[in-house]
């Protein structure tokens, strides 16, 4: 939809106005999520002023950091009309691998992060190859990978647990320390988010991901290297998940084999709530990040408001349905509007 494929000159004007319409609609989506987020935070703040004290803000940012990272990785895959359900297992494996690696010895924070990225990237490479070159549906491949990686992790861990006492202080400090009052983890997430957003918006390869998701057939005819791009998307998602695993270790200190068990669904919810259409081709990583922030903030807000935690799940589910319904309505209306414009 938003792809800039070369078009004959006379259509340029229509094209521009169509694109701004599309942009406006999706900016509206991000604005509405941000609005909901602000309302939620304000409401909770009024009910319980301590929600936004120094510690409170820090907590909110830290809680969202890992989910935001995962949501960024997932959006890149979902934009290409694929899905990566293996993220939860990848985080678990990477967190355990990093934990095992640092156990007792201090290898330096950067090495640990790098190890996480490598573990994740290998997983992403396998899923990506099967999806892009093997032409197996992404849902099946990544579901299979979810179980394979989880099994591998269980086999490796054999019930072992990495405890905070085994993790070097430098790694733990990454999870709890801050610079100028801002904790490290959210800063890292924002850096990854901004970088990804920039590539997706301005680089040709980034735009091609949208083209693939919008219409794989058209993208193929336009000469987009679909397989390579899809593989790259999975590689990225895997690497980001592995990175998130290393951060998981830094943040929670205690690691067992089934960390982040079931997180894949939370991540997909965050992405869809954030306006990345599950059918691909639309949405931004900013939206997905906002979606992730919204979901974790709901959890934190309900806890502060003394509401039982199972409501958080129910609300997340309702949001998801609302988001998909809105997507559908917007889609129908926009198609109609675009058709009217091009007819003029």
């Amino acid at each position: 939809m938003t792809v800039t494929v070369e078009k004959p000159a006379p259509a340029a004007e229509t094209e521009r106005s169509a694109r701004s319409l599309v942009d406006a609609v999706f900016r509206a989506r991000e604005i509405s999520i941000a609005g909901a987020l602000v309302l939620l935070v304000l409401f909770t703040w009024v009910a319980e002023p301590r929600f936004l004290n120094d510690q409170g803000v820090k907590d909110l940012l830290l809680n969202a950091a890992i989910l935001v990272l995962l949501a960024v990785g997932q959006s890149v895959v979902v934009i290409t009309r694929n899905i990566d359900l293996s993220v939860g297992s990848v985080v678990g494996l990477s967190a355990f691998a990093c934990g095992k690696f640092v156990s007792g010895t201090d290898h330096g924070v950067l090495t640990v992060l790098l190890l996480g990225v490598v573990v994740g990237a290998v997983c992403g490479l396998v899923s990506g190859s099967l999806v892009s070159f093997g032409k197996v549906p992404a849902l099946v491949v990544t579901l299979g990978m979810l179980y394979i990686i989880q099994g591998l992790d269980y086999w490796w861990a054999q019930g072992e647990q990495i405890n905070a006492a085994d993790v070097p202080q430098s790694v733990l400090d990454l999870g709890s320390g801050s610079v100028l009052g801002l904790p490290y983890l959210p800063l890292i997430s924002i850096a990854v988010l901004a970088g990804t957003a920039y590539v997706l918006r301005t680089y040709r390869s980034g735009r091609e991901l949208y083209a693939i998701g919008s219409s794989p057939e058209a993208a193929r005819l336009a000469g987009v290297p679909i397989r390579r791009r899809v593989l790259a998307a999975y590689l990225f998602s895997g690497a980001v998940s592995g990175f998130a695993g290393a951060l998981w270790l830094a943040r929670f200190g205690t690691v067992v084999a089934d960390n982040a068990h079931g997180w894949e669904l939370t991540v997909v919810s965050a992405v869809v709530v954030g306006g990345v259409a599950i059918v691909g081709g639309t949405g931004t990583v900013w939206g997905a990040a906002l979606g992730a922030l919204l979901l974790t903030t709901i959890g934190s807000a309900l806890a502060v408001l003394k509401v039982d935690s199972f409501w958080a799940d129910a609300i997340a589910g309702a949001l998801l349905l609302a988001a998909i319904s809105v997507d559908r309505i917007v889609n129908v209306r926009m198609t109609r509007a675009l058709r009217k414009r091009s007819a003029r």
Partner: protein, 380 residues
């Protein structure tokens, strides 16, 4: 032997008996049981277990009719299988390893098998396999008190002793339950410890696992009951929250408690995941030193937080002792020293003598309290 030759195929009878017990008239069920006995004797004979066992096992088969002989020696060469809730549970792993070690002490052989997920029915197929392998005893930490009942009863019919540990099955489906500590003691002692730390005043909260975890809810029940006593009149339980044994959720719930109840003085977390998450959060938040955290955790997991002063003390029974006791109890059962009736006594190696309580329960003893002074003596 006559019964056996009178039937076409013992194997099919067995299978049918297992699958449709409910539909068979009583006398046939009895006949099947008799065949099973006979079969068990023959199989045991050819199966390579020690020859001396054969006689005993034939007699002890029906379980209820057998008499305990407290002086019987522990048999050699017993085969035990530990079936944990799931094979990746670090705590149950320690328990099973110690139980397998204990089996070696008395010349037996132990192994651990189990599902990778802790769902209600995942243990069933493992039990069936263990029956086929003719283990002498199955030690199980049940994922669901009832889902494993059918196959376990089947095992007992075949003279395989069934001992539940950590998490009980329905009492009819096992001969013994090795209880870590009485639920009442666990619940009450946690309130007592925290109360002492808080000088018997202030608001407290509980951070539990999932909302429907049986053991958690039983303990919480006893905690609430303990708090009703006049000694605790200045203490108030303001809220029980559930972290679902998930790190992130336990973090969020802890944060919520501390913000929503500014006068909160203490948190009890009777779950190992919860207490570690809460400790990690408190250790680098502004609440460190302002709120007392107590509960159930493992020394390895909590070592850091004891040393950095986030947590003064916590408690747990020693899972090694629990596995050790389970192994000896199963051996005593299989050797005919006990049958699972109340009041029977047996010796559990270096742990000393234990007595079977009501409903076939054996209680390990009061939980150990860990603090700065003793934590370095424990490694699990």
């Amino acid at each position: 032997m006559i019964q056996r030759s009178a039937l076409p195929s013992p194997a099919t009878t067995l299978k049918r008996g297992a699958a449709r017990r409910g539909h068979i008239p009583r006398h046939r069920a009895a006949a099947t049981a008799a065949v099973v006995c006979a079969l068990a004797v023959t199989l045991a004979g050819c199966g390579g277990t020690t020859k001396k066992d054969t006689d005993n096992s034939g007699k002890a088969d029906s379980g209820s009719g057998a008499k305990a002989n407290p002086d019987a020696p522990l048999k050699k060469g017993l085969k035990f299988a530990f079936l944990p809730k799931q094979i990746n549970n670090p705590y149950l792993k320690i328990l099973d390893t110690s139980g397998i070690g204990a089996a070696r002490e008395f010349g037996g052989k132990g192994k651990e098998v189990g599902p990778s997920d802790a769902s209600a029915s995942s243990q069933v197929s493992y039990i069936n396999t263990l029956i086929q392998q003719r283990q002498d005893a199955i030690l199980i930490a049940a994922n669901d008190p009832n889902a494993v009942c059918g196959p376990l009863k089947q095992a007992m019919k075949k003279n395989i002793k069934v001992v539940a540990y950590d998490s009980d099955t329905a009492p009819a489906c096992r001969q013994l339950f090795i209880n870590q500590a009485s639920s009442e003691e666990i619940g009450r002692s946690q309130v007592q410890h925290l109360a002492k730390q808080l000088d018997y005043k202030g608001e407290i909260a509980i951070l539990s696992a999932t909302q429907n975890a049986t053991n958690q809810n039983t303990w919480i029940g006893f905690m609430k009951d303990e708090l009703k006593k006049p000694a605790y009149k200045n203490m108030k339980l303001v809220k029980t929250v559930y972290g679902d044994d998930d790190d992130q959720k336990s973090f969020q719930e802890t944060q919520g408690l501390l913000k929503a109840y500014p006068k909160l003085k203490g948190i009890i977390s009777p779950t190992t995941v919860g207490i570690a998450a809460a400790a990690r959060y408190i250790s680098d938040s502004s609440y460190k030193g302002k709120v007392v955290l107590n509960g159930l955790g493992t020394p390895n997991q909590m070592r850091k937080y004891i040393k950095d002063g986030t947590v003064e003390q916590f408690a747990l029974w020693d899972p090694k002792k629990l596995g050790y006791l389970g192994s000896y109890a199963a051996a005593a059962l299989a050797s005919g020293q006990i049958t699972g009736a109340e009041g029977e006594k047996f010796k559990a190696g270096k742990l000393g003598e234990y007595t079977v309580g009501k409903n076939g329960e054996i209680i390990l003893g009061p939980p150990t309290v860990f603090d700065k002074s003793n934590i370095d003596k424990f490694h699990f």
